[in-house]
Symmetry: C2
Amino acid sequence: MLNRVALLVEYDGSAFYGFQVQENQRTIQGEIERALSIIHKGEFIRIHPSGRTDTGVHARGQVIHFDTPLSIDPARWPQALNGCLPNDIRIVEAACVADDFHTRYDSVRKHYRYRVLNRKERDVFRRNLAFFVPYEMDLDLIRAGAAHLLGTHDFSSFCVTNADVKSKVRTLHTLQVNRQGDEIIFDLIGDGFLHNMVRIIVGTLLEVGGGRRAPEDIARIRDARNRAAAGKTAPGHGLFLWQVFYEQPIFQNNGAASNDNDA
Amino acid sequence: MLNRVALLVEYDGSAFYGFQVQENQRTIQGEIERALSIIHKGEFIRIHPSGRTDTGVHARGQVIHFDTPLSIDPARWPQALNGCLPNDIRIVEAACVADDFHTRYDSVRKHYRYRVLNRKERDVFRRNLAFFVPYEMDLDLIRAGAAHLLGTHDFSSFCVTNADVKSKVRTLHTLQVNRQGDEIIFDLIGDGFLHNMVRIIVGTLLEVGGGRRAPEDIARIRDARNRAAAGKTAPGHGLFLWQVFYEQPIFQNNGAASNDNDA
């Protein structure tokens, strides 16, 4: 008799080779499965994420699930696991879920945040948490460009070329761009995201904000359905998997893994 | 003919074995001297800090000086050096100073800040930037204890036992304790600080804030002039050398290395 448990997970991706297990590399999955193995007295427990994150990418609200023979009160899972985890991964909350629940297939929306440090000088304390862009950005131009991406489109231009997916049609519900202090914050909410989709969208919109492309170019790039038409991929270290949404909320704190204090 | 140059330096101490050069270890001094050597075409240039910082300790406003045969406009030093430095050290500003200026001997006051993350759960993004204290703290108790340390005292109880200094008498001008969001911020300004003085003061005051010592104990500890009388040394990673003051301000931004945005 196995119990399916879902975990809300926060991590600083700086010191990881991404989520997925790789031999001889430090990964999120590797660390969590190692911690679960300790609690299960050596038994291997496979975890399943809502989506894999790349090297350097962070998470405020990643969701994973696994099956366990143990009957542990969900309130006790975080403390048990956090005691076995390094201090750049934290289990925020745990919940018992149905046997057929799946973090990836059942997610209905995802929220990604991308942080850009936009000032003349870099900041040693945010070097791994925000993409440093020293030149002036016009947020009105960025927003005008972003408007062409809202709604349902084939996002082939904003996806790595070798992606193995049936359809590259996705729906982008929200693409907000705001200034918070010396940062520009991109918030994207959609039904699903292709590989590197957020980073290519942000990289291309930053070219618009810097005046190197016109906002109308974004419509042309979108319609080209060709990765080569878009701009540079923004680096992973500015990206945060912020929240994963399900038909029914799983966690008490509604999937926002922490307060909004900038780290 | 040598020119003496002072630099305002910011660093994230997380990945360093402190300031002072050590063989086979990554240090602030080692990295800055390496960068200076590149700019001086291999010539070794010795730097002198206002004070050495320990492993894990950060700086918003460290000040160093060095002598150079080069005549470079001060405004151009930061860019030249930052191009040769890793991204966890940044030269904020440079200034030409008198030949007899010394960052350490001429400093009249120093400002240290200590950050405590005071909430139930740790934060993966601040694991190296604030000391995590999960239990409840009474700021009124901390402030009542702190009052006993203001002014001129023999701070032997708040200094590592093997410190090689003539006098352990120092003057503490300011010891403020404030809550900022989920953090407790200690700001200490004094004419000089003994080795580990800030960290032992903070560690002892946290014991007062947690109810394990009475505020009046601080006067008794102070008068004991014995390290064993005080509490635990708070860890280095919560400590920031915030600003160094001189009779005449050296830098345009007055030594505050950056804005007050929490990192």
